[in-house]
Symmetry: C3
Subunit: 166 residues, 3 copies
């Protein structure tokens, strides 16, 4: 692992990231405390938070947000403007009206398995698994697990069909 | 009020903003002509426009857009990639094909009351009130007022249930 | 055509763009290899890719993504957080698990005709035409062609009515 990507680009912030070989990170990225595997490509205006794991040969497209608790397998495609979540009941403040701290919420993990594709503009709720080679359509709101090879779309996302094995 | 947030961060633009105490603004934020209350936290890639008001102890997460005419009460949570709007019939040009100017459209205000949470990826149409402690689900498209304590989700957003008073 | 916009702004990247007269580009924009017509205005956190064409007097609002293969006519409005797409079956890797290259996918073009408005947060699938003066509602997911003058909304977007000719 290296502490820098393979390319240079202006206006980007990289703090305590473990990079594999040949990772390309575009300008205006904000990456911290995450792990990014060999050959992956990270677009502009992308944030990847601490504790997130991106596999090898993934593509994370512009304007996407990968939060703590998200793990992407190898060869996962994340479209533009995709948002992952990790808190089922997000709040700014506690019941006392004080700012929430680290102990005031429960992180729920999401796993996207190898080869899956998350279409642009999709919103992925938390505590879910998106199976191997599954396809999430652009603009979908994913509220349940997506089986391996399934194709889902809509709000909430529903199965369209199962992808033919290739 | 102060004219600067409590922290430093690179690559951010702050112009004529009234800050309360202990406001934290992350990198890649673009804030101008707005007011932000005590203790609020503004994420990266956030734009807050002139005339917008953010209460105290709010959290505005990454990639969100808070436009002119939006007023957020105290303790409001805004998820990632949330978009507010203020123009019901947005157009680039007038009927004559000239660029629209300030007098060519009507601003419609939106109010989010104290303690409400707007889930990630939600789109909020204009001229609406989202009531106290209401919850808007991730990916919802809010086209009507949301009563205090209601939980809404979907496109268009519909009531799921009313939140138990705590 | 010029190789620079009419204004200055910090933190923006402009590479090999053909600008018309009086184009305004805000901070945090990422533009490359595209063409932008007279008088158009490009917001912050906008990416416009190579080969995209933006007509004259368009407005492209913050956080939007205009990809290769998209052509916007004159006077088109693009709201905040709008995402265009150009690949019906996006994947990170080929069937062999290698990173996709330029020859491994098929670009599908999208045309937005003169005077149309795309509401904030809309996701536009590829290979589509959005007709003259059509209106796409905020948060819509556009999966089919939109006729000239039509008003569509929802996920997937459906016709609400046809706009009165003015």
């Amino acid at each position: 692992m290296a502490d820098r990507p393979a390319n240079d680009a202006p206006y980007r912030l990289i703090d305590a990231v473990d990079f594999g070989e040949d990772v390309v990170v575009q300008a205006f990225a904000n990456l911290y405390g995450c792990r990014i595997g060999d050959g992956s490509r990270i677009g502009p205006f992308v944030e990847i938070q601490k504790g997130a794991v991106v596999g090898a040969r993934c593509k994370i497209s512009s304007h996407s947000f990968v939060c703590e608790g998200v793990e992407l397998g190898d060869g996962v495609f994340v479209g533009h403007g995709v948002v992952f979540t990790n808190d089922r009941y997000p709040r700014a403040v506690t019941g006392d009206g004080e700012l929430q701290g680290d102990g005031d919420w429960t992180l729920e993990r999401t796993v996207v398995e190898r080869g899956a594709s998350i279409g642009s503009g999709a919103i992925v709720l938390c505590g879910l698994t998106i199976g191997e080679d599954a396809i999430v359509g652009a603009g979908a709101v994913v509220t349940r697990d997506v089986p391996a090879g399934a194709i889902v779309a809509g709000s909430p996302a529903r199965a369209l069909r199962t992808r033919a094995t290739t």
